[in-house]
């Protein structure tokens, strides 16, 4: 019984982290049809920005928890949106209209560039920003102990999910974006400035990736390569749920998160394997993911 609870709580925590990481990826794909391989690098960028800003803050400026959390958010959003703006305006803009697969390779090129840009800025020594994690202590849930910070990550994840839902379903920009998702050419004919919407979408998607990194920074040691590891798991989540669907990303994150928790508590040696096994199994039965839509063949 204890294991079941542990699996459920671990699975939920991991799933909410997965959703945070995957949300930006699926938003960008949904609107722009670009699978952004550099998403992991945006995550790493957010983590580096948050870690170095926290390092500066705790090194003599102050030690208020809420200010630290505000710093994480502001730094991550700022650097993510800025990087997104540069990537979209500087590179992707030149490539619109090419194959989806070619765009995949373009974003792979941006991943390679970003990885080294981060090495040039932050070097190769690890950054630590454990203070917020330590400051939030641990809580007892029944007989299990959970860290307060990780419970907060669950909250952040739910908040991000709700905000995205509200943005897409209840605001004017969201309505315009949905029209682009539905039919790009018709919305363009109706006077929608698709290019500007693409820029906005990419900046928001990039900022979401950076937030995920910023929030994770206090839990991990930030070293070169964290982004490259994250991206594959994020892909697995969005492909399982169905590319471009927010609900899909949430369900995909829950399935993958629980599967991984089951594996860690029962068969730890299969941990890396299980994420991809879940994805492959879903794709065998639903080739476009759980919430994906099949596209009609064109002749």
């Amino acid at each position: 019984m204890l294991t079941v609870w542990a699996i459920l709580i671990d699975g939920l925590i991991y799933a909410s982290w997965l959703f945070l990481v995957a949300a930006g990826l699926t938003v960008i794909y949904g609107v722009m049809r670009i699978l952004n391989m550099a998403h992991g690098s945006l995550y790493a960028l957010g983590a580096y920005a948050a870690a170095s800003a926290l390092g500066w803050y705790y090194n003599g400026v102050g030690d208020q928890l809420w200010i630290a959390l505000a710093i994480i958010t502001v730094c991550a959003v700022a650097i993510g949106a800025l990087a997104g703006l540069i990537m979209e305006r500087g590179v992707l803009r030149l490539m619109y209209g090419r194959d989806e697969v070619l765009m995949l390779i373009v974003t792979f090129a941006m991943l390679l560039i970003l990885e080294d840009v981060m090495k040039l800025i932050w070097g190769t020594t690890p950054y630590f920003a454990y203070q917020p994690y330590a400051a939030m202590g641990r809580f007892n849930i029944g007989v299990l102990t959970v860290s307060g910070y990780q419970l907060m990550v669950v909250g952040v994840s739910v908040a991000v999910g709700l905000a995205l839902w509200f943005w897409l379903e209840r605001t004017r920009v969201g309505k315009i974006l949905r029209s682009i998702i539905h039919d790009r050419e018709v919305s363009e004919a109706m006077g929608v400035n698709v290019r500007r919407m693409f820029t906005i979408t990419f900046m928001i998607g990039a900022a979401l990736g950076a937030i995920a990194g910023g929030v994770t920074a206090p839990i991990i040691s930030v070293v070169p390569g964290v982004g490259v590891e994250v991206i594959v798991v994020a892909f697995a989540v969005v492909v399982t749920g169905g590319l471009g669907s927010i609900t899909g990303a949430a369900i995909g994150a829950l399935i993958v998160g629980l599967a991984r928790a089951v594996s860690i508590h029962t068969m730890p040696e299969l941990e890396l394997f299980i994420v991809y096994a879940v994805m492959a199994t879903v794709l065998i039965f639903r080739p476009h993911g759980l919430f994906g839509q099949a596209v009609a063949r064109k002749i």
Binding site: V101, L112, E271
Partner: protein
């Protein structure tokens, strides 16, 4: 059918490499071997690319080929290089025939991401395998080539001769294959697969054959790499390695089999120097070059040759 012009050129190039191997230093022989080995994996990527599929998981077969050589020598006591390579090919083809059934149902990014996922599954398994050295991998035991024992300072030369011979055979085969009915149908599939079906050809069958061939030569490339390097580790299956193969494939273009060999040689040579000179910005250079190729040379460096020829005549 007589010998084509490009076939004669390929044989001459192989002969030239063999002759030059007697005068070049060991490090250059080693680099050339690595380039030929990578070019074989890249040819697999090119083979799929001609049919419109991008594989981000060719590292799966590259790794299996490498580990077949390592494990064959270590656990089965097989020491002959050709036998070890053949063993890798057998395992690879068996796996590719199974995975191919699933993968040929997918296109575009789904194909790319699924191939990536399968190579990462192998990576995950190898990292957790303590008796295979986990992330450190393990050394390849000494090997022989038929009756020849390559020890005594001649190891790097022997493996270069082997790579050249194998590379030549694969290049000649693929050169004919690209021009065959199936090879030509690949380009038609890339343009419009439904029309290909209307003409009475099975696109899945063609893609399946391509996938299995690509896997087999990827495995040969991995085996040659591990014979030359004398070491295997799980990063061979990591997805960024597969990304490098996609990079070389785009650099060379799909115009001709020789393009992959030239591109691989350029890649390996530049990497050798760039990693020493700019250890922290080598990937950045790679990324920028990749973007420039996509923008200005969408058919790869091979288009430079053909373009000049067309202007000349």
């Amino acid at each position: 059918m007589g010998l084509q012009k490009s076939e004669i050129m390929l044989v001459l190039a192989a002969a030239a490499i063999t002759l030059l191997s007697f005068v070049i230093p060991d490090w250059l022989a080693f680099t050339t071997t690595l380039a030929i080995a990578s070019a074989l994996v890249v040819l697999g990527v090119v083979l799929l690319m001609r049919a419109g599929l991008v594989s981000f998981g060719q590292g799966l077969y590259y790794c299996i080929g490498g580990y077949a050589v390592g494990m064959g020598g270590r656990f089965l006591g097989i020491n002959d290089a050709l036998l070890l390579i053949a063993m890798g090919v057998v395992v690879t083809v068996a796996l590719a025939m199974l995975l191919g059934l699933l993968l040929t149902r997918y296109r575009e990014i789904f194909f790319a991401m699924l191939t990536l996922a399968f190579s990462m599954i192998l990576y995950g398994i190898l990292v957790k395998s303590q008796n295979l050295g986990s992330t450190d991998g393990f050394g390849v035991s000494d090997w022989t080539l038929l009756w020849f024992d390559p020890d005594g300072g001649k190891g790097s030369k022997t493996v270069l001769w082997l790579a050249t011979a194998v590379g030549l055979v694969v290049a000649l085969f693929l050169n004919r294959y690209f021009g065959s009915a199936i090879g030509l149908a690949c380009e038609a599939i890339r343009e419009n697969e439904v029309r290909v079906e209307y003409m009475g050809m099975s696109r899945r069958q063609i893609l399946y054959i391509n996938y299995v061939i690509a896997a087999a030569i990827g495995s040969i490339g991995g085996s040659l790499t591990s014979l030359a390097a004398g070491h295997v580790d799980p990063t061979m299956a990591y997805w960024t390695i597969s990304g490098e193969f996609v990079f070389i494939a785009l650099l060379g273009g799909t115009g001709h089999v020789a393009a992959s060999f030239i591109a691989a040689m350029i890649f390996i040579m530049v990497r050798t120097y760039a990693v020493e000179l700019f250890p922290n910005s080598w990937q950045m250079i790679l990324g920028i070059v990749l973007l420039l190729i996509i923008l200005f040379l969408p058919k790869g460096i091979w288009s430079l040759f053909t373009r000049r020829r067309r202007v000349g005549s």
